[in-house]
Symmetry: C2
Subunit: 304 residues, 2 copies
């Protein structure tokens, strides 16, 4: 497919166009489907998440520099919650990454999920498929929020980094979003601040609940100061170790099966949505007491 | 329907049971469908959202006390992002509401959305329908996270309170989650702290972008110190004013049509999901390069 070939040759506009097709759940993506599948499984997807203020963008930027130093092509997919009214993705601190804007080996994109019924959870695996097929060696999947959708999305990465900063709220606040459980590597960023030992102790206490064993990965805790680059080498090593472990243990394959499974379900839902009846009219009839909601839902699916 | 009648008579176990049916997307809910519809439109649903630490639980608790003082029955639905691995909703600071635990006019429940394909966005309107039918006068819909799902859910309320605290990060951080646009009332909590004028100024600046007009609601800004109860009366007045405005302007009806519309789409998806084929097997075939993802998605929907 022409678009995929152009993207693989390094044309960022072709990559951007493919991602726009994903974002709007365009049927035109179907034409690229076989071409996308022909080039799959190369990219290592690194998820990056954590509460606002822990330094996700700075870590992402540091990782871009490090992988570029190894000659690898790097894509960044920033998953922004879109406003339900403006429909726009807030670019926010994307500006911090402008240092990489002129590097042809780096592709950066913020993504919302306007067209998708299944939201980000459905759109993200398709976007990862596109970036993988476009020939990137590393894809950094950064989430801006830490809500349910965002946790679900970042959990689809091959290696998940959960960022914390010392002294930033107690563990309970962080645990609320359910992000601790998805960590493959914990990153305590801003590690030049006070409170690092307490944060490490909290994490170790939590990790001790994990019984461990031969085939169990215990997430390492890496300390970084992303603004100075301190600890970034340790972080790269930890990611490499997890990558190797997950490859040999079969965990990587399992995770990718799940990712494709969600992708297929998301695509199937998009297909189904196009065939659903008019819910607005039925909703008015439910409010008027003319039809009960379950029957209305059945009517909606009648013509599938 | 027996369960709905028992719930309306004030049996909290019956209400809890109905919500469990929603949470697990149980087909048994269909039996209650007509009974639920027979008692709709009474409850006023107040959405409460804001970044962690602004005092959502404390405001919720203060509102419970205030409405109970008016003799109203109050339900609280706390929407927690559930961990994708444990499947459990983190109860977190629900404990702060234990003061109301022995009050029979108050029902408090944390909710995840395990069974729902459409996630919280699909489960929430059904849960609101249940609480409305169970005879509550006020339903407080509190979101724990501020991700895309959570914003979508709280946007379904009749009146949306967006909480801020002075000096808590800049406006951009808050705007990221897209929550400013859904506010019907802004609440600056912890208003005894420094930085209130700056927060008010930021909000006024943003609101000034709104052209206003006859049929346009300009969200008022209310200052509270929820721990002492200061400003709670002002908050109640602001909610009442919005309720009256939205009733007369037709905005309330429009919002409820949209809520039911999402509910119907969510129920329709749950029906469809039960009929989808096995995505796991197809996912393995996609990874093996045997079938392209779009074709696999079509196969998934084949037997609908």
């Amino acid at each position: 497919m022409h678009l995929v070939d152009r993207a693989r040759a390094g044309d960022p506009r072709a990559t951007a166009r493919l991602l726009s097709l994903v974002e709007s759940a365009s049927p035109r993506l179907r034409e690229a489907s076989a071409a996308l599948m022909a080039h799959q499984g190369h990219a290592h997807v690194i998820g990056i998440t954590g509460a606002p203020g822990v330094g996700k963008s700075t870590i992402t930027s540091a990782l871009i520099s490090a992988y570029r130093g190894q000659g690898l092509r790097v894509a960044v997919l920033a998953v922004d919650p879109s406003s339900p009214f403006s429909g726009g993705a807030v670019l926010g601190d994307r500006v911090r990454m402008q240092a990489h804007a002129t590097d042809e080996g780096v592709f950066i994109r913020s993504m919302a999920s306007r067209g998708h019924l299944g939201g980000l959870a459905a759109a993200a695996p398709q976007a990862l498929r596109v970036l993988d097929a476009c020939g990137f060696d590393v894809v950094l999947l950064e989430t801006v929020g830490v809500g349910q959708s965002e946790v679900e999305v970042v959990g689809q990465a091959d290696t998940v980094l959960v960022l914390l900063a010392p002294g930033m709220g107690d563990g309970v606040q962080v645990a609320k979003a359910g992000i601790l459980e998805i960590a493959d590597v914990f990153v305590i960023n801003k590690a030049d601040r006070d409170g690092v030992p307490a944060t490490v102790r909290d994490l170790r206490g939590m990790l001790a609940l994990n019984p461990g064993g031969e085939d169990v990965w215990i997430p390492p805790i890496v300390k970084t100061v992303a603004t100075t680059g301190a600890g970034i080498d340790d972080l790269l090593s930890a990611v490499d170790r997890h990558r190797e472990w997950s490859h040999h243990s079969g965990d990587l394959f399992q995770r990718r099966v799940q990712r494709v499974q969600r992708e297929l379900e998301g695509m199937a839902l998009d297909l189904v949505r196009d065939r659903l009846g008019d819910a607005g009219d039925l909703a008015r009839r439910v409010l008027a007491g003319e039809i009960d909601p379950y029957r209305a839902a059945v009517v909606l699916t009648d013509d599938l």
